[in-house]
């Protein structure tokens, strides 16, 4: 047989393994020694025994072989490192730009993702969150207590909790006075439905006593410092003492903002109205904890039916259950007290910006590395001539880029750590990061792998495919303009930059619009002074006063009279909530139908002080006792909504009994411009006013403030004096947008800067490639301008092509963002054209820097061949 004539060799697998491990200049000789062992054994004992001996020899040799392998690889690695280091030193500037650019991009996108992560995590940490639903009536969130009976009839509802959010005017802890805090009243089931981490106290007993108070950790620190807050007393409005019964971790990721929780049953005492909870106040946001696997659809139907039967004399309403975790990003509800909202379109916009910046930075890095790699053609050809194969070159290039990327990554993390506090400041949100979390490690690893592979693999594959002889002779490589990969990258990069510029322009436009849009009332030269101490109601007087509600507080009237003695004080009015952020609502019964109304509580001077225009009827009057709490001035929106006929004659039931409309005020923006103007009414109920609005003369604001301070210290010596300007308060309504505009500006500058870096590197490379061509053209008589155009033409083409992608994307996202505003700019082509023009201009400026340099160079240097 033929097969028998061929002597069987040693097992192939082992042979290959040995060959793999033998990294040695004498690898061949050593391999032969292994084979000699096989051959000797075969001669003496036969092939089977030889195969065994060969095996054994391999296994026994393995430790030595591995040692050998490491020793020789380390030698090569040392060489790679030396070369990499020399390359970095040779182009210090570009190397620095490269690493710093990538680091900046990574750091920036990491910071954004931290913010996005925080937004997405809101309300997600509640362990029973998937079973909690908020009950809503139409677009109305605040419901009365009378629905509770209905909840108890359904076995699907395990527990429910109602919230009432307050902003307390002043509080005392120990003997110190403090400014307001967000106090939320809640049923004691709140700790059954929701989960808060108790640092002190016990969730089961913390809310059983009607005067107990659970503080957020930071609030406990504010009030009591390092002292133990448990059992200490906090007095609200100088009258209502609550005892601290628990401290919980700050509820950062919870959509109801609260600094302290008090039991629901203490509300009657707090408001001074014993029957407060039985009144028909649509005031309380209501959360239901359902049984696991409860059918939400059928429960909604059953609840709607059950509640509607209890609402006698009212039109049947539609109820819905909104999943707890959807509340944060839902901004459609009419009015929500104490609820903090996220903005989904903002999250999308930011995520897009982060991804784009990261990609721009990576693309940049890739572009610069690949462009520079061609200058290493000689090194590579020598390596190849000395016996390096493709694999060696791949290892070298990948190793080199991995090292650079690693350096950039470390720099990025340092940058993130350094800028975390100021970024948290910029976004107005505390950021806490756990870097050990899988998603962070995973994404950082992903960025690392992507950048290192993309920037290392390309040049390695390309350069190692070339003939070493050709390379050594200095034959030029393919021109970059025909390298499709890099062209795509550049187009992409400019598309991203254009997208960001256009987005920022739209946001800036909208913010300017928000700032400039008249709100229908004065915001300038108005001081807001929160009333405290003597100027708030004494508890003993309050309950009596609340009954008739007629008299004007003595201290307040003195305060007002004294203030007006100074000619620099033009007017004073006492209001409840400040215009711009009205949320108090009241349900009116007009001809048996319920009408929710937004209520502004203010004394009769409010129209003068705020500059509101009366359209019809009269203002509230100081003289008519019946005006206190019973006469309303409504806005134009409310007229058709109420359907009163005759408007000024018909009575309806409101908070304080049978009431009338006495005047109509021109529509004004009493809420932020995110929302449409709805029906609202102004009423004067003095006991519930909490802020003085003081109009001061524009010429002597400092003098006026000094006067106010002086009067305050005389009338109200114990309480701390504080004030804000109305325009500041109104400005806070758009804080999110102004912040967004600021952040976007930073992003855009960064993105454009990074894109330019990439383009700069690329144009330098192309100019270098075309040195000879330019030289010959110049010798033949081409003018400098022609050559600049020749070199810039390509890039302009790419930048223009980039717009094709950037425009639709930018349009889509900004339009979505603008939809969040009831009053907004129209999206024209302007910002897009401007963005493209700017991108093109910057691109041309960057490119022409290189092309002018190339075009003005002496052609003799370019074509000379030594």
């Amino acid at each position: 047989m033929i097969a028998a004539r061929i002597p069987p060799g040693p097992p192939g697998v082992i042979r290959r393994l040995i060959r793999f491990f033998l990294r040695h200049e004498d690898a061949g000789g050593r391999e032969a020694e292994f084979e000699e062992i096989f051959a000797e054994e075969a001669r003496a004992q036969g092939f089977n025994s030889a195969r065994r001996a060969y095996w054994i020899q391999f296994v026994l040799s393995l430790p030595g072989l591995i040692m050998n392998f490491i020793m020789w690889e380390a030698a090569m690695l040392k060489n790679y490192l030396t070369i990499a280091w020399r390359n970095i030193l040779k182009n210090k500037g570009i190397s620095f730009i490269n690493v710093a650019g990538l680091a900046l991009g990574i750091a920036c996108s990491l910071l954004i993702f931290l913010w996005v992560d925080g937004e997405m995590r809101t309300d997600k940490s509640q362990p029973r969150g998937d079973r909690i639903y908020r009950l809503e009536r139409g677009n109305w969130v605040h419901l009365p207590t009378s629905y509770r009976k209905a909840f108890e009839n359904f076995s699907e509802i395990e527990k429910f909790v109602q919230f009432d959010a307050w902003e307390t005017p002043i509080l005392r802890a120990g003997d110190k006075l403090f400014d307001s805090m967000k106090l939320v009243f809640a049923d004691d089931t709140v700790f059954v439905v929701f989960d808060f981490t108790f640092l002190r106290g016990n969730p089961r007993q913390a809310m059983t006593d009607p005067y107990s108070l659970v503080l957020a950790q930071s609030e406990a620190q504010r009030l009591f410092g390092s002292e133990d807050p448990m059992g200490k007393t906090v007095v609200f409005n100088n009258a209502f003492p609550f005892t601290v019964s628990g401290v919980v971790e700050d509820p950062h990721d919870f959509h109801i903002e609260w600094r302290a929780l008090a039991p629901f049953k203490s509300l009657p005492m707090f408001t001074g109205r014993p029957g407060f909870l039985d009144e028909r106040n649509d005031n309380y946001s209501t959360y239901l904890l359902l049984q696991p696997h409860a059918n939400v659809v059928s429960l909604t139907a059953k609840l709607t039916a059950a509640i509607n039967t209890t609402r006698r004399g009212e039109a049947p309403a539609l109820f819905q259950l909104r999943p707890f975790r959807d509340v944060y990003f839902n901004r459609e509800m009419y009015s929500e007290k104490g609820v903090r909202h996220g903005n989904m379109s903002l999250v999308i916009l930011f995520s897009a910006a982060a991804v784009l910046i990261l990609l721009i930075a990576c693309v940049n890095f890739i572009n610069l590395v690949t462009a520079r790699s061609s200058s290493r053609a000689k090194e590579i050809s020598i390596r190849k001539a000395a016996g390096a194969v493709r694999k060696n070159l791949l290892v070298q290039f990948l190793g080199e880029t991995s090292l650079t990327v690693l350096a950039a990554l470390i720099l990025a993390l340092v940058l993130v750590a350094a800028f975390l506090p100021s970024f948290a400041n910029l976004t107005g949100k505390p950021l806490d990061v756990d870097w050990t979390e899988g998603k962070w490690i995973g994404s950082i690893l992903l960025v690392f792998l992507f950048t290192a592979l993309a920037s290392g693999l390309g040049p390695a594959l390309y350069l190692s495919s070339l003939e070493p002889v050709a390379l050594m002779k200095g034959r030029s490589l393919r021109p970059a303009s025909r390298a499709p990969f890099r062209t795509i990258l550049t187009v992409f990069q400019f598309a991203a930059a254009t997208f960001l510029i256009a987005g920022a322009l739209v946001v800036l436009g909208q913010v300017d619009y928000l700032k400039a849009k008249g709100l229908g009332y004065d915001q300038e030269q108005l001081l807001l002074v929160p009333l405290k101490g003597e100027l708030t109601e004494k508890p003993q007087v309050l309950s009596a006063r609340l009954k008739d509600g007629k008299t004007f507080g003595e201290a307040k009237s003195v305060f007002k009279r004294r203030l007006l003695q100074n000619p620099d004080v033009r007017g004073v009015t006492f209001i409840g909530q400040s215009p711009g952020e009205l949320t108090s609502t009241n349900t009116w019964t007009v001809r048996g139908e319920k009408r929710p109304m937004i209520i502004m509580n203010a004394d009769p001077d409010v129209l003068d002080v705020l500059g509101l225009k009366l359209v019809d009827g009269r203002t509230l009057s100081w003289d008519m006792a019946s005006d206190m709490g019973l006469s309303y001035v409504v806005n134009e929106e409310a007229v058709p909504f109420l359907g009163l006929n005759p408007l000024f004659g018909e009575t309806f039931r409101a908070n304080f009994g049978p009431s009338r409309v006495v005047g109509i005020v021109k529509n004004f923006h009493f809420r932020s411009l995110h929302r449409k103007i709805g029906p609202m009414a102004i009423v004067w109920f003095d006991a519930w006013t909490s802020t003085a609005v003081i109009k001061v003369s524009g010429t002597n604001i400092a003098g006026a403030i000094a006067h106010v301070r002086k009067v305050w210290s005389e009338v109200n010596p114990q309480a701390p004096f504080s004030y804000t300007f109305m325009d500041e308060t109104v400005g806070k309504l758009y804080a999110a947008e102004i912040r967004l505009a600021r952040i976007l500006k930073v992003f855009v500058i960064l993105a454009v800067f990074l894109s330019c870096l990439g383009l700069f590197g690329l144009s330098a490379y192309v100019a270098g490639q075309k040195t000879k061509e330019i030289g010959i053209r110049k010798v033949l008589g081409a003018r400098t301008s022609k050559i600049v155009i020749l070199l810039s033409k390509d890039f302009s083409k790419w930048v223009l092509l980039a717009n094709l992608f950037a425009w639709p994307a930018a349009y889509y996202i900004t339009e979505k963002w603008l939809q969040g505003f009831a009053y907004r700019i129209r999206l024209g082509i302007g910002p897009f054209l401007l963005a493209s023009g700017f991108a093109l201009l910057v691109a041309l400026a960057t490119v022409s820097f290189q092309s002018v340099k190339a075009a003005t160079a002496n052609p003799v240097d370019a074509i000379r061949h030594e």
């Binding site: 000789g29 050593r30 040799s61 030595g64 050998n68 020793m71």
Partner: protein, 99 residues
């Protein structure tokens, strides 16, 4: 003088003993015989390389042989620094005999 590890010392002595006929297999056989247990090829390569780097032994290449598929044999021998200072010492001769 550079320090030698135990293995390097054994290999160095083996190369000395083999007097110019030291290559992978012969060194392995020599040390296996002298120490009484089987050495693997892998185990002698590392000390050999280290000794070469330290300059105590040098290698040369034999003419390619047909038996090795046309590959040449790598031969090792002591360099001047690797040679014993005084070959006449009795202990020297004694150890040479033993190895």
């Amino acid at each position: 003088m550079k320090l030698l590890s135990r293995n390097e010392e054994i290999i160095l002595l083996a190369v000395w003993r083999l007097e110019g006929d030291a290559f992978g297999i012969s060194i392995r056989d020599q040390v296996s015989e002298a120490t009484g247990y089987q050495w693997s090829l892998g185990a002698i390569y590392v000390p050999l390389d280290k000794l070469t780097r330290k300059g105590y032994i040098a290698k040369s290449y034999s003419r390619p042989t047909a038996r090795r598929g046309g590959r040449s044999k790598v031969l090792y021998d002591l360099t001047a620094t690797g040679r014993p200072r005084d070959p006449g010492l009795p202990v020297e001769r004694h150890s040479r005999a033993r190895i």
